[in-house]
Each structure stands twice: as structure tokens, then as C-alpha cells.
Amino acid sequence: MGVFMHLCRTTNQILSKSGYRMSSLRQYSQSSVLPLPMTRNPYTMPTISAFCTEDNVSECISYINREVSSLGFPLLCTESNNGPELNLVAVLNNVYNLLQLHRRCLQTVEDIEVEQVKSNSNMDYLQLSNTRLKDQLELSKRENTGLLERERQLQLKVKSLHNCLKNEKEEVQKLQSIIASRATQYNHDMKRKEREFGKLKERLNQLLIDKKDKKQTFEVLNYVGRSDGKRSLWKTGKTEARHEGEMYKTLLNDYDSRHKDLLMENAELKKVLQQMKRDMVTILSPRKPSQSGEKHDDSLEQTSSEEDEVCDSSRESLELSCEHAREQLTNSIRQQWRRLKSHVERLDSQASLVGERANMNAIPKEVHEEEMDRLKLEIQQYKDFIHTQQQLLQQQLNSPCDDETASLLNDCYMQEEKERLKEDWKSFEEKRKNFEAERRNFTEAAIRLSHERKAFEEDRATWLKHQFLNLTPFGDQMKPQMSKSQSALSGWAESEVRPMSTPAKLNKSLSHTAFSTSRASPAKTPSTADLYRTHRLIPEKRYPTHDLDIHNRSKLQSIHIHGR
């Protein structure tokens, strides 16, 4: 709607430019006027009677005034005292102006129409020419492509011709070189022949001049026998025949041997063919039950018939190696081979079909392949590992060239062990120290013990003495001493519980002291006997007891003697 209004406005503008306002008038006239019969001039306006009546004269006048003033014409009527009066001159002028306007409009319409017709015809013409040109363009494009195509072909041809030319040139060069070499060879031969010819001529001349012809001579002391010892024969027809015969014999022998070889080869090849055929038959026959029904029967029959044929033919071929048998054999083998081929193809197709249909079949395959890949990877890894190990080992073995480094390396290896050893040594040392300490303790204890024993013995000895003396009437004097020795004895009796020394020895010593009246000497520094005794506390086995007994006994005796 807006566009339409705009269009109307533009047409109005166009018309107003030229000073005319046709459309509005026409619109108005068409809207408010009844359709009237058309006169010859289609552009005549309908009569104004419908527009203006007795009643609305003033309105019409005012309206017309307005319109006319807008058009730029003088007013129709002027305002006077009695009311609007119609100015006739103005009206006539206006009418004339309007008529002029109308004529001009008609003129312009005609012009425009003429223009339109012209432009239509122009457009038609242009369209025609456009189509024509388009066609021409099409045609020329096609021509162009055609020409391009031809050019391309020609270029290819040129290239191939170039190649041909090159080849031809090369061949020409080769032939030229051949010709050259041949020419040199010919020349060389010619020269050689000429030289020889020259020599011949010279010799001929020489001979002609010389006249005396040095004949051939043959001097020999005596004729020697033939190498094979036989006598030579005269040349007769017989010998000739013999020679011929011998020659043919050699030839025939050669042919015979060759024939034999070929027969053997033939036989072997035939055997091979038979073997192949049998193998093919065996390969094909067990599979027959697995195949589909029709083929099964047919092929079985075929194979059975074939086998019969084959057997017959083979037997034949073994006996007569004639053309027919050979042909049969080869034909049967060809047939079998064809069958085998088709069978294998069928199997292949079946396998592929099965593979496509069932994924179940495919999966194990994939899994299998994955497994394989994995295993391969593992193997590779292990191989690399082994390789690196080997390299390191090799390095180890090869690398130490310095003594220092070697020793250092050796030390490095031994370090751990050394440290371990050191620790062990330390522990051993400690133990040893402990042992030493214990031993010392033991020795001290033993020494103490010995002292105590001595003391005890002395006490015992005094007690016994006292006892012995107490047997006498003078016993009361000794009582206080007895108590001491008793106490010592009792103390010693307690200590005897300790499993220190041998009770036997003590008994002996006691018995000894029983006879001896001597008092035990005061404690001295531990003598060797004591030490031996104490040593006996520790490993007894080291020192034989028997010796010690004697030793101790002697010592004790000495002691007691000393004590006395």
C-alpha cells in the first residue's frame, strides 16, 4: 500500500513537474461520475452535469477555484458583495487553459506512447540480438574448445613425433657407429689382404727371378712305427666304406645315448605328471562329500570315470608311448588342474563369505591377531632387554683398560663384601673381647676359688689337726680355732655344691692333707698349677686330666712339703 501511495505520489510529482495533475482529476471524475457513453475521442471527459447541480454551485465554484488556483490559472470567480460571482472571462480563460492543458497532455501521452512503442521495438530488437549473440557466443565457445582439443592432440602428436625422432636419431647413430666399425674392419681386412697380396707378388717375382726352385725335402733316419702299432692299410674302396661306417657308427652312438637320456627324462617327467595327477585326484575326492548335492554326484561320477580313464591311459602310456596316450595324459592332467583350480576358488569364495557373514568367525581372528601382535611386541621387548644386557656385559668385559680403573672397579665390587666382612670382624672382635673378659672373670673366679679351697684345706687341715690333737686331752685349747675352721669348712661345704673341680681330686688332696700335718701356706700369687686348674674350668678337653692330676698332685705335694 505504501508503495502504491509512493507510486502515486511519484506520478503526481512527475505530472506536477510539467504542471499537470491529471490523475487526481481523473480519479475524482471517475469516482464521482456515472459511466457515460464514450464518444469517438476516448479521452473526452464525461459531462460536468453530474458534478455540478443547482444546489452545489457555490461549492463547485469554490472547488473549481481551488483546483484552478492550484494549477496556476486565474480564479474563476471573485468574491463580491452578493456572493461568489462567476467571472466569465476567467471561466473562459480557464476553460481555454484547461483545453490547452488537455491537448498538451494528450500530446505527451501520444509522445509517451510513441516512445513506449519505440522502446518496445528497441527491446525486442535488443532481445533478438541478445539471443543471436548468445548463440554466437555458444558457437564460438564450442569452436574454441574444439580448437583447444585439436591443439592438444596436435601437441601430443608433436611429442610422440619428437620421441620417434629421438629414437630414430639414436638408431641412426647406432647404425652409423656400426657402419663405422664395419668400415674399419673392412679396411683393416682389405689392408691385410693387400699386404699379403703384395708379399705374394714379391714372392712370385722372386721365384721367377730365382729359377732354381728349392724343392721340398724330407730326410729321416728311419721310419718309425705307427703309434697304435698296426700297419697302415692301402687306400681302397673298402677302407673308404669302413671310414664311412665308422663315422655313422659314432653318430649313431651319440644319437642313441642322447635318445636314451631323453627317454629317461621323459619317463621321469611322465612319472611326475602321474604323481601330480594322483595327488590332484586325491585332493579333490575327499572333499566331495562336503560339497553341495548336485555337484557332489556329478563330480564323483566324473572323478570315478576320470580315474578309470586315467588308469587305463596310464597303463597304456607305460606300454606304448604313442602320441595318443601322451595327449590323453596331458588332457586329463589339464582337466584335473582346472577342477582343482575351480575348487580352490570356490573354497576361497566360501571362506570370504563366511568371514563376512559371521562376526563370530571374524572376532577370534581379530583376537588372534591381537594376541599375535601383543606376543610379538613382548618378544621384541625381551629381545631388546637381552640385547642391552649383552651390551652392558660386553662393556663390562671390554672396558677396563687402566689398572687403576680396574682396581677401582674391583674395589667397587668388593666394597660391599668388604664392609660385610668388616662388620663381621667387628662382631667377632667384640665377641672375642667378651670371651676374654669372661675368661678373665673365670680365671679370677677360679683363682678365688683356689684361694678359698686352699683356705678351706688349710682349715680342714687345721681342723683335722685339731681333731687329731683333740683326741688328746689338750683339745680345749684348740676349740676357738676349730670354730673358725668349722665355719670355713661349712662355708666350703656350701661352695662344694658348685660343680667346680673334680671331687675325686679333692678327696685325694684331702687324703693327702690327712697325712700331712702342715698348714696351708698363706695365699700367694696364683701359681701355674692354679692357673692350670682354672684353665681346666674352661675347655677341659684341651688338657688331659691325667697329666694335670699328676702335675697337681706333685704340686700339691710340693706345696704341702713347702707348707711343712
Binding site: Q185, V224, R226, H243
Partner: protein
């Protein structure tokens, strides 16, 4: 290894007798025969002129001494030192002289190859063979010594004559389809004769003993063709060495190519073992390459301590580009030798300085003779990697 004292010799004429008991050397015009073990001089013969060619007879009883300039051939006997035999070719001249396989006939080729005279030591018979061809190998005796093949040329055509060595009876005479016959060679079994064309055309013709053409073989056209030819000891294979540096092996049943061996400048084959000679004392200066196939200088026996080390592949063989503008260029396979057990084939390609390649009869070792040096190559018997077909 012990070495004897050095003996004088001239013209490289030093031959051990076929039975291996005697050693014959030529010093100017004297022929010295020594015992092989003690090297004591057993016989001393004097010839009339400087000896150019010396050959033992096949039974080691006679020695032939040829003096080409004088046209003389003298034959000496080992059993009877007093025995003498002198053949004077006279004005007709002498170009080559050789024994027949039975050791009782001497074949003298006259100057300009006018004819071949067959002198007999047993009878007074003399045979003449006209128009022998002067080529690389015009005469060949079969291995059993029964037949001789001789190449002839008359009226610009090549012929081959087969003679029975017994009495020099012409067994067969046939024309060959060659442009310019270069050589004939019997197969070891004596049943096939290989005939090859000159280097301008690659063609090998195989004839049976009775003169029938069995087969022809031509590898290529126009380029220089066959340089050398060798039969395998079992007569199963025929090796053809050509100027393009390749060896082609034909089989005896179909006479078609079984395989071909190349001699590339850089060796890449993983089966190949390359031995390089490394000289400790830089006497000569260069480190030579010594390979099973490609052979250069061997080590000197006395002076330098050289050792061979195995080169890692690929190995570049030093190749000297020969002058192709000359005739008979030093390219191509010039000598080949099969080992006696049919296992190996030794070939020499290019311009290497090797005069000859000979196998030991056991097939275990190989002797390479250079101009100044020789080299012994021992095959390692344990490491067998090649078979007959794949021989390199």
C-alpha cells in the same frame, strides 16, 4: 712353495710332455729336455735355426721344432737321441707346423696358405690339401683324434673338409653358409662341428659329423659378432662370446639359447662374490680387481704379499673405454673356459690383461696368465651356490 733356479728360454717355448715326465724348453736354437722331477737335463738337441715353435707329440716320444724363416721342421726322438728328421719346405715357405693327434704326422702350412702338407713319419706318403683358409682357427682335430676339420676357401666361398686322420681320407666336403668363415671347432664328443663367421656377422652354424647342417644361430645383426667360442666338456652347452660383452649359451638338443650372461660395469647380483686384490706393498701402485669373472693382473709370486678380500656389493669394475675406431677392438668376450666338471665358466671381457684362462682338470682351480704375472684361483668346494644353468 719352493722354487727352482731360473732357466733360460726363448720365445716362451716351454712345454711339459703330455705324460708329464719331461719338460722341454727352447733356448735360441737349442732344445733342452729335462726330467720334470729332478730338472736334470736329459737330452740336448741343436736345431739349424732359432726355434719358433715347439710341440710334443701326443705320445711324448717326439718333439717337433719349427723354424719358420728357414722353412724347416726338425723332429727329435726321446727314445733314440740319434734319430733325426728334417723337413725342408723349400721355397714354398712355412707359416705353421703342428702334429697330428696320432703323433706320427706333421701338418705344415705353407706361406700364403697355399696348401697344407701332411708328412708322415711312418710311411713315405705325403698328402697335400689345397686352399686352406687363413683364419682364426682353420684346423681342428676332434678330441678322440679320429677326424680333422679344415676350413677352405675357393671361389669366394667357404667350405669345410672333414678328413679321417687315419689315412687322411677326405670324408666329407661341404659348403658353409658363412660370409667369411672364422673358425671351426669340434664338440668334445666329436659329433658336432661348430662353424662361426667373422666378426662382421654374428652367425654360428652347427654341422653334424656327416656334414648335415643341424642348426644356425644368430643373436643380432650388423654389430660386431662372435669373438670366442667354447664347448662345455660334456658337449651339452656351447658358449658364444661376442663383441657386445655377452656370453650366450646354447643347448645341444634344440640349439637354442638357454641363457645369456652379461658383463656389467657394476656388479649387483647378490650371488656374485667379488674378490679384490689388495697389495700390501705399493709396488705397482694400483689395487686391482680380481673377480671370478673379470680378471686382471694376478699377484706376483715373489715380490709383493697381496691378499684378496671380498668386496661388498655393488662393485664398480674399472673399465677402460677402448678405442673403437680400430679394427678388432678390445671389447667383447675374448676368452672363455669351462671347468672340466661342467660347473663353471670363466670368461674374460674387455681389455683386461689376461693372456689365457685355464682350468685345472679337477675343476677346482683356475690359472690366469697375464703378461708378467699369473694367478691361481681356488674355488671353494663347500660353498656351492651355482648350478649348471646359472653359472657365472
Amino acid at each position: 712353495m719352493n722354487f727352482s733356479e731360473v732357466f733360460k728360454q726363448s720365445n716362451q717355448l716351454c712345454r711339459v710332455s703330455p705324460d708329464g715326465k719331461y719338460l722341454a724348453t727352447c733356448v735360441q736354437y737349442r732344445l733342452v729336455v729335462r726330467d720334470v722331477n729332478t730338472l736334470q737335463i736329459l737330452h740336448l738337441y741343436t736345431c739349424l735355426d732359432q726355434i719358433v715353435h715347439m710341440e710334443w707329440s701326443s705320445d711324448s716320444l717326439f718333439i717337433l721344432c719349427a723354424m719358420y724363416k728357414r722353412g724347416l721342421v726338425q723332429v727329435w726322438s726321446l727314445e733314440q737321441p740319434d734319430w733325426y728328421c728334417k723337413i725342408d719346405e723349400g721355397s714354398i715357405g712355412l707359416v705353421s707346423s703342428r702334429w697330428s693327434p696320432d703323433g706320427r704326422h706333421i701338418l705344415n702350412t705353407t706361406e700364403f696358405h697355399l696348401r697344407v702338407t701332411v708328412w708322415s713319419l711312418c710311411t713315405k706318403a705325403v698328402s697335400y690339401i689345397k686352399y686352406p683358409k687363413a683364419c682364426q682357427k682353420g684346423i681342428d682335430f676332434s678330441r678322440d683324434g679320429c677326424y680333422m676339420a679344415l676350413a677352405e676357401r675357393r671361389d669366394c666361398r667357404d667350405y669345410v673338409s672333414v678328413f679321417v686322420c687315419d689315412d687322411w681320407h677326405l670324408l666329407r666336403h661341404f659348403e658353409t653358409e658363412t660370409q667369411d668363415l672364422a673358425g671351426v671347432e669340434w664338440s668334445p664328443n666329436g659329433c658336432v662341428l661348430a662353424v662361426w663367421d667373422s666378426c662382421l656377422e654374428y652367425k654360428v652354424l652347427l654341422y653334424s659329423l656327416d656334414g648335415r647342417l643341424l642348426s644356425t644361430f644368430s643373436a643380432y645383426e650388423w654389430s660386431l659378432g662372435i669373438k670366442s667360442l667354447a664347448w662345455s666338456p660334456s658337449s651339452q652347452f656351447l658358449a658364444i662370446g661376442s663383441y657386445d660383452g655377452k656370453v650366450r649359451i646354447l643347448n645341444h638338443i634344440t640349439w637354442k639359447k638357454v641363457t645369456e650372461f652379461d658383463h656389467p660395469a657394476s656388479i649387483n647380483n647378490t650371488k656374485a662374490v667379488v674378490y679384490k686384490e689388495v697389495e700390501r706393498k705399493p709396488v705397482v701402485g694400483s689395487a686391482d680387481l680380481s673377480i671370478q669373472q673379470h680378471i686382471t693382473m694376478g699377484s706376483t709370486l715373489f715380490n709383493t704379499q697381496s691378499k684378496y678380500e671380498i668386496c661388498p656389493l655393488p662393485v664398480q669394475v674399472p673399465v677402460v673405454k677402448p678405442d673403437l675406431d680400430r679394427a678388432n677392438p678390445k671389447v667383447g668376450v675374448s676368452s672363455m673356459a669351462f671347468s672340466s666338471d661342467n660347473r663353471y665358466l670363466a670368461t674374460k671381457n674387455g681389455g683386461f690383461q689376461v693372456q689365457s684362462v685355464t682350468w685345472h682338470c679337477s675343476g677346482d682351480s683356475l690359472i690366469l696368465l697375464g703378461k708378467e704375472q699369473l694367478c691361481l684361483c681356488y674355488m671353494e668346494v663347500g660353498e656351492e651356490e651355482e648350478e649348471d644353468d646359472d653359472v657365472k
